[in-house]
Symmetry: D3
Subunit: 104 residues, 6 copies
């Protein structure tokens, strides 16, 4: 599964009890993060934007961390993602995103 870091306490615990769900999430991650035109890193930056726009604290942090650790995304690139969040979602979502980024 490409998105290993993302699935912390939640999905990893499914492996034994609900293997069909674990496998499905793995398939989703594999198929959906294999774009035809966009590379994986661009898709991860998009995932950061979506999680930040939903004010999902855990999801935003996990996507930021995994994009930096696995794919070498820089803080500057993530700030450029958050610029779009400010434009399309307003100050509070942007503020949350900046706070999370600065805490990593």
């Amino acid at each position: 599964m490409k998105d290993g870091v993302f699935y912390g306490r939640g999905i990893n615990e499914l492996k034994d009890e609900c293997p069909e769900l674990y496998d499905l999430v793995e398939s989703m991650s594999d198929v959906l993060y294999t774009g035809k035109s966009l590379d994986y890193k661009t898709q991860k930056l998009i995932a950061i934007a979506i999680e930040a726009s939903k004010l999902n604290e855990n999801g935003t942090r996990k996507q930021m961390v995994s994009s930096m650790d696995e794919l070498g995304a820089t803080k500057e690139e993530i700030m450029d993602v958050l610029r779009v969040v400010l434009l399309t979602c307003g100050v509070p979502a942007f503020n949350n995103g900046v706070r999370i980024l600065n805490s990593i």
Copy 2:
């Protein structure tokens, strides 16, 4: 303003009545779509993702159209954006995004 196509019936009518609001939106668009690391097209793809994740029919269509017309984004690239929407927002948001893309 970089995002000319985006502001249709709403914001364009502000020019005369509330010029300070029109100017502010213009500043927001100029500053925020000027990334330090990501190019404008990548930022527009991020904006498509956010609008699709919010199920914003008008916003999704406008962002798709302007990214294709102004910046040469391809349907294949937008499908790769929608893959991330499927992963992070589920089937209905993805379905809406595909329907809008196919109608352009």
Copy 3:
């Protein structure tokens, strides 16, 4: 019920089939639109803001119309509501709100 204009095709049809639901919504409207400190008009402006922030096309229009027709809210006041929507929810929600306001 204070909010008569709001309940168009949906809730008004409940009167015969589900009178207990109709009565409940009526109670909700009566109790909740009777503030101790804020007047009804200010509460209606708040309701416009919430509906606009949710991108609820029908709800935003109904709240705008009823605040103008029943309570004499002005377009200028509603624009001041939408300023807060721009600050807290970004350009697309603001754009939708302005478009709806201009169409009334």
Copy 4:
């Protein structure tokens, strides 16, 4: 795919261009609508609730129609779903849900 009615103009058009996405959505529908304890009809009622809570007009209608046509859900059962929407999401989402239900 269990959820045949749901995928209208969007996902059905993927069959030729992006068969791997069509297959993935099909797998998702098959695995996720096969509960261990809850039957398919209860799961579809849950899907109605989620779509209504998101104010997703198309998604709510499709889920209502398919639960009635395929699984014999009654209007009364769907009204009981919408009662929970009123409790947890307020009057506008409830009003939209009732309006859609009454239009089917």
Copy 5:
């Protein structure tokens, strides 16, 4: 009020200061959790789904706990609810829901 567990620090403190609000929430809970066709437990499972889809950490936990304690809902049933959340809201909302369920 049927939903006693749900109202923790928030609503219970209203009893003295705003009895009319406390009574209203009690009426809402009583009327809305008394379905004509669906039983209370099914309605509570629907409430879990809605709270999980909104990424409401407190609300999701409270609804899960009260459905298990008061109504004997099983973890397996709640996992079947979360399957629908995965289908309709994507991996992050599902992941949050599983994490909360596993922590109970």
Copy 6:
């Protein structure tokens, strides 16, 4: 910037690294909180409503605190804001809002 209290750990850290973003948020706050008809305090109450409706814990608290500290908003006024949240967003968002208000 009018909204000084609002920008805690997030935006204040931008001053050195991204001064153009800090200045933009400052302009947004200045222009948007300067209504033509509504006063600043009414606009802040609207901001509380929007943040509470989004279940944004941090944002709701900050808006409540700054409206009380800077503008003398009372708990009773904020409860009247939360009444509209109960009507338009349901019990969980109201419950969260009351809990936050009571903790200040």
